[in-house]
């Protein structure tokens, strides 16, 4: 258990030393959202109508951006095999790395999401649901992403491959996340969508570490 938190703390410390790398995800999401009004015009009605979907797509793409490095750096410098020989089983390693990834990219995205939504004229009625849905959805991105990051270890152009592998798995999260916010905006019940998002989170929490561990075992052999 100690080793689990020691590993998370190390990854956070490494990210803090390369703060520019860590902020890339949030900056990317901000850029995407800022560009939309230029592309489709400044009408508040249209922007407000698409705001939920745009914020979610921006968050998903931003989370994908940094995923291919999740295990790659440790694999390249030999740390991964040292980690594998340590006291943690591989699934716990994957879970610790995914947790650190979420703390570095997911958490800032959650904080930024209401601001991004306001920039797209989202009515304030939807903001609380948006943040809640993001809190349930972004950990799914990090967990599912760990599977892809483990599978592409050693491959060239890993980043593109991760996106191909993981985006289909992330689509349910995108659908329920955007639908929950949409429901709150149209004064409908958001709870069913949030519950489905919670189910996605529980399923990825249970399955993704084991799947990522299988990928890591392949890369170590």
């Amino acid at each position: 258990m100690t080793a689990f938190f020691v590993l998370i703390r190390r990854d956070l410390a490494l990210s803090a030393r390369q703060a520019a790398d860590a902020l890339v995800a949030v900056m990317f999401a901000v850029l995407v959202v800022v560009l939309f009004p230029f592309g489709i015009g400044p009408e508040a009605d249209i922007l407000s109508r698409i705001s939920a979907g745009v914020v979610w797509v921006a968050a998903l793409l931003a989370a994908m951006l940094s995923l291919d490095r999740l295990f790659q750096a440790d694999h390249d410098d030999g740390s991964l095999e040292q980690l594998a020989l340590g006291p943690l089983p591989l699934w716990a390693l994957a879970l610790a790395k995914a947790t650190a990834h979420w703390l570095v990219t997911g958490l800032p995205l959650i904080v930024a999401s209401p601001i991004l939504a306001i920039m797209l004229q989202m009515p304030t009625a939807g903001l609380a649901t948006l943040v809640l849905a993001m809190a349930l959805g972004t950990p799914c991105f990090s967990l599912l992403g760990a599977i892809g990051a483990a599978l592409v270890l050693g491959a060239r152009r890993g980043g593109v491959l991760v996106a191909f592998l993981i985006l289909p798995l992330a689509i349910p999260v995108l659908i329920f996340g955007a639908a929950a916010t949409e429901a709150a905006l149209t004064a409908q019940e958001a709870a069913p969508h949030l519950m489905l998002l919670g189910a996605c989170l529980l399923a990825s929490l249970a399955l993704a570490p084991a799947a990522a561990a299988a990928g890591l075992r392949q890369a170590l052999g």
Binding site: T2, A3, V6, L7, R10, A13, L14, R17, Q18, D76, D77, G78, S79, E81, Q82, L83, A84, L85, G86, P87, L220, G221
Partner: protein, 191 residues
């Protein structure tokens, strides 16, 4: 005599191609094994098998105590200082203090230096400081002398002697003439 590391009928290879074996090994407290052989004869594969990083093609490996493995890569994070690198691994592995480990490899003066400024030999010494952990009785060293100067090799020999005196064992794969008194020798690639 209590066997710390043993292997029976061990056959090793990469991607379906047999490199060596079957071979039997047994190391009891204080023992050492020197693994020699040409490039590509399977020295690294044998050490990875013993460490448990690879599965053997057939046979079994039993490690009856904690082990440390030194591979070709140094597992050093350039943005951490020398001390931070070592402290992370000691905490992660749950072994004791690292205070004397840096002094033992002559890096204590560089403890606060970011590891990106180290030379290749100094990085190797930092990797050795991580691996030569008294809390683990089994040491598996793959080409430990890569990049080391003569003084560092003497330091490594002294550390190995102390470790074996305290009941530890070591498996060393090397081309270099490193001093390992009364060690078993295994030469791969003679088939």
């Amino acid at each position: 005599m209590n066997r710390l590391l043993e292997a029976e009928g061990l056959v090793g290879g990469r991607s379906g191609h047999t490199l060596f074996g079957p071979l039997d090994l047994a190391l009891a407290a204080g023992g050492a094994l020197r693994v020699t052989g040409g490039n590509g004869s399977g020295k690294s594969t044998l050490l990875r098998l013993l460490a448990g990083l690879l599965d053997p093609m057939s046979g079994v490996v039993r490690a009856n105590a904690a082990l440390r493995y030194l591979g070709h890569h140094d597992a050093v994070k350039p943005s951490f200082t020398v001390a931070e690198n070592l402290i992370f691994w000691r905490r992660f592995n749950g072994s004791g203090s690292s205070a004397s480990a840096l002094a033992a490899v002559g890096l204590d003066r560089l403890a606060a230096t970011p590891a990106r400024y180290l030379s290749a030999g100094q990085r190797r010494r930092l990797a050795l400081a991580r691996t030569l952990d008294p809390a683990a009785p089994i040491w598996l060293l793959d080409e430990p002398t890569n990049g080391l100067d003569a003084a560092s090799i003497a330091m490594l020999e002294a550390a190995l002697a102390r470790h074996r005196g305290a009941g530890g064992i070591a498996v060393v794969a090397t081309h270099a003439a490193i001093l390992l008194p009364e060690a078993q020798t295994l030469e791969l690639g003679l088939t």
